[in-house]
Amino acid sequence: MARRSEPNEAGLDTTRREFLQVLVAGSSLMIGGVFLTKEQAAALPGPGNTSDVLDLGDTLVAAETAYKYNLTLEVTPHNRVRFELPREDKGQGIATTFAMVIADEMDADYDRVDVELSDRRADRTTTITGGSSTVRTLWEPARTVAANARLRLVTAAAARWGVLPTEITVKKSLVMHEATGRAANFGELSAEAAALALPVVPLPLKPLADYGIIGTPRGRKNARAIVTGAQKYTMDLAVGDTPDFPANAKPTVVLRPPDIKGHIVSINNLAAVQAMPGVIGVVQIDLPDRGAVDLLLPSFPQSTGVAVAADTFFHALAARDALDVTWAPGPLASTSDAQIEATLTAINLPLTPVLPIFSSLDATFDFPYVAHAPLEVMNAVAHVQGSSATIWYPSQTPNYQAGQIATALGIPEANVTMHIPFAGGAFGRHLFGESAIEAALVSQALGLPIKLMWTRNDDMRHGRFRPRTHHALRASWLAGTTLTFEHRVAAAEMDLRHGYGDLFLGPGYNGAHAAIEQAAFNATVSVPYEFGVTTQTILNQRFEVPTCSWRSIYSGTTNCANEIFVDRLALAQGADDIQFRLDHLAISTSLAAPAITRCLQQVQAKRNAWGPAPAGHAYGVAAHGEYRSAVAYLVELDATNPANPRLTRAFAAVDVGIPINPKGLEAQVQGALIDGWSVMVRASNHLDNGVIREGSYSDFLWARMNHTPKTIEVYVFPADPARALPGGQGPGGAGELGLPPGSAACVNAYSRATGTQPSRFPILEFV
């Protein structure tokens, strides 16, 4: 495994083989590891039917149980603690979160804890960064490994000094025996600690009250690197940044067809382009869909084309632009949004009729395709040498990705090394990695290391999208009691072939994909209110528009639609929007109801404090519970000009059970509201005869500074100590939590400010 450089501290050998590592099976360096037997693992809970009882995160926790302590933590001779996080940090802040967790459990100096993103771990099969599961899956394992490391350091010190381990204290990476005044830092004890033959065992972990770092607001560990330009993203990497980074990785771009999945008929001026200044090679790349799944089903392959490698991206782009290629249209050449919307509307299951004596309300909603559009475009560095490949790509699913690359190259998967750089956003997009496959193919073809970058146009016109969805909802009530709540979703199928833990691994996807999608839907969406007979179903139709989970998987549309509809139910019954929700939570048996209630009560108090909304303004509210967390939003909207509305201020209350870094949590809750505002009010993608209309941020109208509120205040509920007890729920997820209610609150405010009931999004397209 490649070692990344650590902060330079002169005079110390950086070879650390003899120092304390708590790591992996199969290595002579292994100090220990706890593995469950297959039988023990099988006895764990399996996939559930409703997210209320057992959600996606629970299944991911279960999937990793067999190797959960198989983590790498090292105490270096420089007295730094180095933890390899087997996840992708793409700005959500998990590297900082786990630095806090490790430091607190180990009593290490927080400033001397470095969290690095682990290379692909073939021995952690289901590793995935998704479903807001990172903290949920690694909370207990990371602390346990840290506690084991601490125990070894204390044991080593006790042996060195001939004292009892119980007489030893640890503070800020310093191990002390106060009675004799002796002390040694972690680095000084590391070699002796490494020599101890102790297995990694579940140890008692600290009670919540003993943590001094967890729960305190911390800035990002890499904040200084970001503001000085020192933070390296994949395209910034150079020789020396990582030990095996190749010299002369060649900038490469790809000419793609005008429409989705168009294909090459002929390249008409290959020789002329190859002779252009700075051009190193021109390669036709072919990225057929890989895997047996596509023998049976219509496919999801991506658009590819003609790659140009050159001395600089300027030369590569110029040569790409000079290419004369004859294209054949792709499978969507005569398909536009209207047909897809009509198909989804037609296939959706009918709503159940309601007896005339009941009051009822119906609604439909149509959500558009939406690109992920992380600011860092899709890219990758690949160095293919013979039957081995080394890849730099910030994958959310490194093992799936390695399999895809291996198949494309015709080499063993075991020969694919994947380094995971820090990423400039992802929002689900890195669950797949076509750019990494392309880079590998070009590297193989040219025999050179390749630095391949998609342009923004590539990203938006040939990328993946949140699937288009059509929703029909109906609720009925009698004398204030809600009797039925029905939500039928027809969706462009979400490509889930990357798998989500053992819940739906790639191979199982083939035969049972409809069942898998329903299971995934059930594991992520729920109605927390007592609404009588509650039914939610999804029906998928596969189109050739490539899709992918987009922040909060199905929840961003389905639970958003629910929260808009709940607002309308309140309005229809003459009830206050917050009180209506509280009343239906109070009688609910949903496990999420108490936390949502707490959040809504905060919102209620805040709205009271704000007083009546100014003329032309309105408040919007929405709430959501998922990932064992809950959040409620209150937004104030200025719709004086309904064609140019703006959020003026916002408030959110969030309860994640155990907030590890409140500052990072706030950022997630704030960002989710901006996402919600963008997708519900401003930005979308359109399909016009197989071509995605939008090409960049000029027409993909993501919110800017002048569209967003001046303040978004976030109230973070303090930790619940019970959740930190052994067997407790631990912290809930946070990354995706805010998107569904953040989206709905914006729509609800707009609706109340304008007296309209938007059913098609983004709103401003249909005003």
């Binding site: 793409k90 700005g91 959500q92 802040g93 800035g219 990002r220 890499n222 904040a223 200084r224 970001i226 503001v227 000085t228 330009g229 020192a230 933070q231 390296k232 993203y233 395209m235 910034d236 150079a238 900038p251 200044p277 001395d311 600089t312 991206f313 300027f314 782009l317 559009a373 992380p374 600011l375 860092e376 475009v377 990423a423 400039g424 956003g425 929002f427 970058m453 342009t455 923004r456 500052k663 990072g664 950022a667 704030q670 960002g671 989710a672 901006i674 996402d675 960049s696 941020y697 000029s698 993501w702 919110a703 800017r704 500074m705 002048n706 967003t708 509120p709 001046k710 303040t711 978004i712």
Partner: protein, 171 residues
């Protein structure tokens, strides 16, 4: 194709032979190893490459005579036109490891999520404060509206601009 001596972050940097119409973004990133300015769109609509040329915030990615200039007066000169005008990227703000007050404000407000847009945001904000030492919310809206932050850190950027402006105006 000539060789150019550029004034980058206070130092003279000599390019290899390059075409005169090469955008500074690629000169800096691919030839001089200055990777703070980012590629986000390539056509001047996202602001991720924003840096200072002769003290003005400019977009380094725009190809003259190829791309439109989406934001008026935002296109940086290309390598053949820049001469010895000082080019300052995000790497040029800290002096001797001492952070510029605007960088410190960005850290104090914990602005960044993914951070990819932030070099451009900081350089744009710095030009704003240089021209307007006490920007109002409306001034901030106007100056920053052409820089995209996909993570939605705008409220933190706004707070950091105000903090930086206060710090830079001195006691």
């Amino acid at each position: 194709m000539p060789v150019y001596n550029l004034n980058v972050n206070g130092a003279v940097r000599t390019t290899p032979d390059v075409p005169a119409d090469m955008p500074l973004l690629w000169v800096l990133r691919d030839l001089l190893g200055v990777t703070g300015p980012k590629y986000g769109c390539g056509v001047g609509v996202c602001g991720a490459c924003t840096s200072h040329v002769a003290g003005k915030a400019k977009r380094l990615c725009i190809r003259k005579n190829v791309d439109a200039e989406p934001v008026p007066n935002s296109a940086a000169p290309q390598v053949g036109d820049v001469g010895n005008q000082p080019i300052v990227t995000i790497e040029g703000l800290a002096v001797g490891g001492e952070l510029h007050p605007i960088q410190q404000a960005w850290i104090d407000e914990d602005v960044a999520s993914c951070g990819f847009c932030q070099p451009g945001q900081i350089m744009r904000a710095l030009a704003l404060i240089a021209a307007n030492p006490n920007p109002s919310d409306a001034d901030i809206d106007q100056a920053m509206k052409d820089n995209v932050c996909r993570c939605g850190t705008y409220v933190r950027i706004r707070a950091a601009i105000k903090a930086a402006a206060a710090a830079m105006s001195g006691p």
